[in-house]
Amino acid sequence: MIGIRSYGAYIPRYRLNRKKIFENMGWLNSATAAHSRGEKAVANFDEDPVTMAVAAGMNCNNGFERTEPDGVYFASTTLPYKERQNAGIIATALGMRENVRSADFTGALKSGTTAMLSALEAVGSGEMKNMLVCASDCRLGKMGSPQEMIFGDGAAAFLISDHDVIAEYKGSYSITSDFVDHFRGSFEKFDRQWEDRWIRDIGYEDLIPKTVEGLLKKNALKIDDFAKVIYACHYTGERKKLNKNLGVDPEKVQDIMLGEIGDMGAAQPMVMLAGALEDAKPGDKILVVSFGSGCDAIYFEITDKINDLKKRKGVVWHLANKAELDTYAKYLVWRNIIPFETGLRGEEDSPTRWSMIWRYNKAIYGFCGSKCKKCGTPQFPPQRICVNPECGARDEMEEYYFSDKTAKIASYTGDNLVASINPPQIYGNILFEGGGKTMMDFTDCDLESLKVGMSVAPAFRIKYYDERRGIVRYFWKAVPVKEVE
C-alpha cells in the first residue's frame, strides 16, 4: 500500500491585516477594497520558501528518523536559487542521508501536487520506500495590486511511503494546459495576471471540473463518495459556482483559509490537504485538486493508521500561533520591495566562502555538532578535541544533531547596534537539553517576552542576504517554544 505516512505544515508567525495594506495603497487602486478582508500570513524577515519548507519538513518528520526518506522533492514558484538545487539545501537542513534523490518542482502553481505524484510514483515503482515532499511559496504582488492583498505565505510537507500509510493513494488525473492566468518571467520579482473574469470563466470553471470528471470516470467514483474535497481557488463567488457545478456539498469542501493565510501558490492545495488530514477519519476519501498551468487531481483514502500518528503542530496550531505585523512598511522592507537604510554599518561586506561552507555543510545547514564518544559531551560547532576539560579526547567524536533538541536561555539581549531589518537583533547563549551550549540569534519573538530559563527550539532561517551577489545564506536560530491553546 502506498500513500501518505506523515504530514506537516508551517504558517509563518506574522499576519498582516489587509486593512493596513488598503489604508496605505487603497488610494492607488480602490478596487482592492474587495480583497481587504482578513489577514495574510507573512514570512518573517529571515524566512523564505526554503526555510518554510524545512519547518514543514521538521513538523512532518516528528516521530520519524531523519535518515528514513530516500529522497526529497521540493515544489515552489519562488525558489531562492535558480541554479543550485533548493531541495538539496532542504535535504541537508533536515539531516537526510547523502544517497537520496532530490529535485525542485517549479514553474506552475500545480507543482506541489505534481511533486507529490512523482513521489507516489517513485514509491509505487518499488525504487524508493520513503519520499519527502515539501511545497512552499512566498509570492509577491506589486504595491497596490490585488495579488499583494491575496497572496500569503505557507508550506506543507508529506512523507510518501510504501508502508504504514495514513492515507492510501488510490488514483490521479492530470491536465496540462498552457492557460496563462498568472505569470512571472524569469527576471521578474512580481506576479502578473490577466483579467479576473477570464481566469474564473475559462480557467477555474473549465479546467477544475474537467479534471475532477476525469478522475471520477477513471476510478468509477461519484463526487459524493468523497468526505473532503480540496481545490485551490481564491475567488469566493467562483467557489460557490464550482461547488454547484461539481455537485459537491459545500460542507465537504476544505476551507481555503484566505482570510487567515492567503493564497499560498504551489503550497495552497498541500497546506489544505495537511489541514484535512488533521481531522480525517479512517475510511474518509479525500480529493485534492491543484490549479495552475493545468490541474492535478489526487485521490486518497484514510486508513486506521491515522489514529497512531504522533500529534503534531499542524495547520490549526499554526493558525493560532500568530502575531500581528504592526506596519505595512515593515512588510515592504522585509520583502525588499522598497529601498531602506540600515546605516553604514549595514554596508560592510560579508563574503560567502563556498569551499568553507562545503566543509561545514552539516554544521551550518543541518545544525549538526559533535558528541564525544569518551565522555558523551555534545558540542557545537563540531570539535575534534573534546571541550570538556576533564576529557580532552582527540578525534573521538560522532555526529550529533542539535536541530531537534530544545534548549534553555542562559542569557540574552536585544541589540540595536546590529544592522538589521528587524531590530533589535535578539540573541543569547542557550543550553541544550542533554548538553551543549552555543550563542545563537533568536527569532519569532519579542524582547519583552524573554526570560532566562525559557525554552527555545532551533529553526532554520536566513542568516544573511548578500544583495550584491544574490546569495541567501542560511543557519539556525532559536525560537521560544510556545504552547498554543
Binding site: 560579508s350 558540542q379 541589540d415 537583533q425
Partner: protein
C-alpha cells in the same frame, strides 16, 4: 623552575596621547605624540632602543599589517619591530613582549607602543568587520560587543534574583563614577559631568545596556619603555621606579562557549588570570593589598562582574560595593578607573592596555594633581579584556614600587 616576571623588569618611561575624536590625526601622528612623551620620560635616546612591540587591532581602517608602520612613523633605526594583536588586549600584549625581551636578557631597552584610529569607520561603535573568522559569521549569532556583554547583565540579574532596575542602578553608578574621574582628566575623550538619572535614561544600545553603559570609541596611542631594574636604578632615583610584579594572560579554551559549566555571570579568563597574577606577585588578599585598578570597563556590566572575577568583591556582592562607593577615587576602598577608564578616557583598542598601565604608573609616581590622585598607592592592577564574555583573552598587569 620558572619564577615568573616579578621585579625583573622596570618601567622607565611612559607616554599617552590625548584620546578622543582626533579627526586631524593619523595613527602615525598619535604614535609620535605618545612616543615623544615616553622617551622624554625615560630619559634615553632613540638610538638606545633595541626592540619594539606594536599593538593595533582594526588595521583595516588603520595602519595596516606588520610592525613597519611604527618603525616608519617613529623612524626607528632598523629595529626589530613586531606587531602584536590580541583583540582589545593588544596594548597589554605589546607591553608583555617588551617586558619579556628585557627579562630574557635579550635587550636593555625595549619599546611597547599601541595605537588605534577608530573614528575613521564612518559610524559609531566598533567597525562591523568579521574579527573572529568566517566560521563565526556562519555559525553564531550576529552579535556586536554591547550585545555580547549585555548578556552578563541578563544572566547576573537572573542568578542573583535582582530586578533589572536594581542591577541597572549599580551599573549606572559604575559609569557615573568614571565620568566623575574623567571630568578631571584633560586627556580623556568624554569629559561631561553626567547624572545617574541621565545614565539610566540613555537610549538603549543592547538591552539592558544604554548609551552611557558603553565606553567611548576613540583614537589614541600610548607607549612604554622598559628596562632592567639595574639599569633603571642607575638612571633614576629609587622612588621614581615602577616595577612589573606580574604579567598574566588567559585565553578562553572554548569551555565557556560550548560547555555547560559557565553560567554567564562572570568571565572565566579573568578569574583564572587573576589568581595566577596574585600568585606571581605574592598577593594573598587582593581586596586589602591592591591600591588601585584600571579595568576593562568596555561596558558598565563588564566592570561590575570584573570586580568579582578579580576577587575584590565577593560573588554577588559587586553591586553593593559599587553603590557603597568602594571603587570611588576617594571612597576609601580600591579606586577603580582613576583616569575615567575606557568609559570616559576612551578606547582606541591597540592603545588601551598601555593607557591603563600609563595611568597606574603615573599614579604610583604621584604625578597627578591631588584632586585626582590615589593616596599612598603601593600595588596597582590593570585588567585588559579582548573578545566577548564567552570567548576572550584577558591580560593582567600588576605594577608596584
Amino acid at each position: 623552575m620558572a619564577k615568573g616576571i616579578k621585579d625583573k623588569v622596570a618601567v622607565l618611561g611612559m607616554g599617552c596621547s590625548k584620546f578622543g575624536e582626533r579627526w586631524d590625526m593619523e595613527s602615525e601622528d598619535l604614535m609620535i605624540e605618545a612616543f615623544t612623551e615616553c622617551i622624554a620620560d625615560a630619559g634615553i635616546e632613540k638610538k638606545q632602543l633595541e626592540a619594539c612591540w606594536l599593538g593595533s587591532y582594526f588595521i583595516e581602517i588603520n595602519i595596516g599589517k606588520a610592525g613597519i608602520p611604527a618603525a616608519v612613523a617613529l623612524k626607528l633605526p632598523f629595529l626589530p619591530v613586531t606587531r602584536v594583536e590580541n583583540k582589545c588586549a593588544s596594548g597589554s600584549e605589546a607591553f608583555r613582549g617588551a617586558c619579556y625581551a628585557v627579562a630574557s636578557g635579550a635587550c636593555d631597552f625595549a619599546l611597547a607602543i599601541g595605537a588605534e584610529k577608530l573614528k575613521d569607520a564612518g559610524y559609531g561603535g566598533l567597525p562591523a568587520i568579521a574579527v573572529d573568522g568566517q566560521m563565526e559569521v556562519m555559525l553564531h549569532a550576529d552579535w556586536t560587543a554591547p550585545g555580547a556583554f549585555a548578556q552578563l547583565a541578563s544572566a547576573y540579574q537572573a542568578k542573583y534574583g535582582m530586578s533589572m532596575e536594581q542591577l541597572k542602578e549599580a551599573m549606572a553608578y559604575v559609569s557615573w563614577k568614571s565620568h566623575q574621574n574623567g571630568v578631571m582628566n584633560p586627556r580623556a575623550h568624554l569629559r561631561r559631568d553626567v547624572t545617574k538619572e541621565q545614565i539610566m535614561k540613555s537610549p538603549m544600545i543592547a538591552y539592558p545596556l544604554g548609551l552611557f553603559d558603553c565606553c567611548g570609541v576613540s583614537d589614541g596611542a600610548a607607549a612604554a619603555i622598559v628596562t632592567t631594574p639595574e639599569i633603571a636604578r642607575s638612571l633614576k632615583k629609587d622612588e621614581e621606579i615602577v616595577y612589573v610584579k606580574s604579567l598574566q594572560i588567559a585565553c578562553s579554551s572554548g569551555e565557556e562557549a560550548m560547555y555547560t559549566d559557565w553560567d554567564g555571570t562572570s568571565v572565566m579568563s579573568t578569574t583564572l588570570a587573576a589568581q595566577r597574577a596574585y600568585d606571581e606577585a605574592g598577593i594573598k588578599n587582593p581586596r586589602e593589598e591592591i591600591s588601585m585598578m584600571e579595568v576593562h570597563d568596555c561596558f558598565s556590566i563588564t566592570e561590575l562582574v570584573t570586580m568579582e572575577d578579580l576577587q575584590i568583591s565577593q560573588r554577588g556582592k559587586a553591586p553593593e560595593d559599587i553603590l557603597n562607593g568602594f571603587y570611588d577615587l576617594k571612597g576609601g576602598g580600591v579606586p577603580c578607573q582613576t583616569d575615567g577608564g575606557l568609559k570616559c578616557f576612551g578606547h582606541p583598542i591597540g592603545a588601551s592596555g598601555l593607557r591603563m598601565i600609563y595611568e597606574m604608573y603615573s599614579q604610583l609616581l604621584q604625578r597627578w594633581p591631588e584632586e585626582r590622585s590615589v593616596k599612598d598607592p603601593r600595588l596597582a592592577l590593570t585588567h585588559n579584556l579582548g573578545g566577548i564574555p564567552n570567548r576572550n583573552v584577558v591580560s593582567l598587569v600588576i605594577l608596584g614600587k
